[in-house]
């Protein structure tokens, strides 16, 4: 790999590891110091490698420099030492030979513990996602801003507030105790689920970025699977769901970035390796007796990996949506259930049910009604699509609905 590609690549894979280990070492209240030292390490690499050429083992070089910088920081900041060193987890009395453990195991542990610290119930979900991207995924501010379609300043402020919150709450960087782990795991899973969705449904034109968000969410979820304590059925179910969704990456957008609806997708573009991975983890998730919403959503996603419209498929999907809605209502699940209902019992039944939903502020509601009225009452169908277009917010949605109107 050429140097100009190597540094961004290493930044993506190593920044987060150095940050997590240093953060664990310094404590959550010094999260910025950890980030700064990691950033400075890469700055040094850029300067040094440009003049002296690539070192033999770039990763080891980065770790060595990061360790030095961390040690220097500690010796240079007496105030810091007095206040903080007593909290340092791995410090020996003499800070000169302080051990900064960048072993694979400590990196994985530190990242997992940081994941729990960042996904703390005290912090808003939005901030959790932003901080996860920065600290755990090594995204730059530009990239996060691009993903959220926000400007850099907004993101900087959001991250600043989140770090402040972690400081005030004195969130420890550690595994939650056995009694707490399931409850805390739920918050972590929600954040990872949203992080994945952020990528999957993002309006950002940058398709590499969107895929990266999804892959990072999958990587973090997989970290939980690799750890015995957090390898719970719901984690496997979420990972399975992500695999099934990710299998359609290539098929769901055309070269102009426009959404291709499920029924119009070229299934030869579906990634069958990911589909079978999804199946494997759904099977893993079935051990245990608690049915989470991720189990149900993964099962629904499984049935969608079978393209052919069979009675069995839609019967199952309908029953799964019936169950999902009892666990957690969401407008999109209500609409999808109604679509499944039309597949099982026909459009007339579904129209009656749809009209009970009363989601008149939601453009998907009118899109669904438009679809249901199509070929039954085309005037009504067109009218509903026209209502939908007035409510649609994003360019992609407007384009999709416009195409439907043009059919009449």
């Amino acid at each position: 790999m050429e140097q100009q590609e190597l540094i961004p690549h290493l930044f993506r894979t190593e920044f987060r590891k150095i940050t997590a280990v240093l953060c664990k070492l310094f404590g959550i209240e010094h999260i910025e110091i950890a980030e700064d030292i990691a950033s400075e390490t890469f700055l040094s690499a850029l300067q040094s490698w440009t003049y002296k050429g690539l070192p033999e083992n770039p990763t080891a070089w980065l770790y060595a420099v990061a360790k030095n910088k961390a040690r220097n920081y500690i010796t240079r900041h007496k105030f810091f030492i007095e206040k903080i060193v007593s909290h340092l987890k791995y410090s020996t009395p003499a800070t000169d030979d302080m051990e900064i453990d960048l072993s694979e195991k400590n990196i994985a542990d530190s990242q997992l513990q940081m994941l729990f610290a960042i996904c703390h119930p005290a912090i808003s979900t939005e901030a959790q996602i932003g901080l996860s991207l920065r600290i755990l995924c090594g995204f730059g501010i530009d990239e996060i801003a691009n993903a959220f379609l926000a400007n850099k300043e907004t993101i900087n402020k959001r991250l600043y507030r989140a770090r402040e919150k972690l400081r005030i709450e004195k969130v420890p960087i550690e595994f939650p105790g056995d009694a707490e782990i399931n409850r805390r795991l739920e918050t972590v899973l929600t954040t990872l689920y949203l992080l994945f969705n952020e990528g999957y449904y993002s309006e950002s034109q940058d398709s590499v970025m969107r895929n990266d968000l999804c892959l990072e969410a999958m990587r973090l979820t997989y970290l939980l699977i690799e750890n015995e304590q957090t390898n719970q059925p719901s984690v496997n179910a979420l990972f399975s769901l992500m695999c099934f969704h990710a299998s359609r990456f290539k098929a769901r957008k055309n070269e102009n970035g426009e959404i291709i609806l499920y029924q119009d997708q070229d299934e030869s573009l579906w990634d069958h390796e990911l589909i079978s991975k999804g199946g494997y983890f759904l099977h893993q998730a079935s051990q245990g007796n608690k049915l989470s919403k991720y189990h149900i959503e993964a099962s629904i996603a499984y049935w969608h990996t079978i393209k052919a419209d069979t009675k069995e498929k839609w019967d199952n999907i309908l029953q799964l949506f019936n169950q999902l809605l009892q666990i957690e209502y969401s407008p999109i699940a209500a609409l999808n259930r109604t679509y499944a209902l039309s597949k099982v019992y026909g459009k007339a039944v579904a129209i009656t049910e749809a009209e009970k939903l009363n989601l008149t502020g939601n453009h998907f509601y009118f899109t669904l009604l438009g679809e249901l009225y199509k070929n039954i009452d085309n005037t009504k169908a067109k009218m509903n699509f026209e209502k939908a277009i007035l409510l649609a917010k994003t360019q992609t949605d407007i384009q999709t609905i416009q195409k439907k109107i043009e059919q009449f």
Binding site: L318, Q319, Q323, L325, A333, A334, L341, K356
Partner: protein, 117 residues
């Protein structure tokens, strides 16, 4: 928004129907519950198995099941959110239990802990 309980009274289905018929009823019930949940009006609910049922009366008298005088007994319940008793009744009308002669769904308002009830 008020809360209501729908109490279903019916015969023990396993005594009068085939497993296949039971499956059909089960699916209809799930669709009925799903329809209410899709309107964000479902709170909770469960079926009540007819096996292992006991009734306790004064003086420690314990008898098997509530069955005996009447064939229809409580087979399940569901709590829902509704604007009015009329809306709750509309939900009840869709209950598959009502396909059976003699069966019923009783609709009752749940008391608010406001000292009035």
């Amino acid at each position: 928004m008020e809360e209501f309980i729908l109490i279903m009274r019916h015969q023990d289905g396993t005594k009068i129907a085939s497993p296949e018929q039971m499956q059909i009823w089960m699916k209809q019930t799930m669709d009925w519950v799903g329809s209410i949940a899709a309107q964000n009006k479902f709170i909770s609910g469960t079926g009540l198995p007819f096996a292992d049922a006991m009734v306790v009366r004064p003086n420690n008298i314990v008898t098997n099941g509530p069955f005996g005088e009447i064939k229809e007994t409580i087979g399940g319940f569901m709590t829902v959110k509704a604007e009015s008793i009329e809306e709750a009744v509309e939900f009840a009308k869709g209950c598959p239990v009502l396909q059976g002669e003699g069966n019923s769904v009783e609709v009752r308002k749940i008391a608010k802990q406001d000292g009035v009830h």
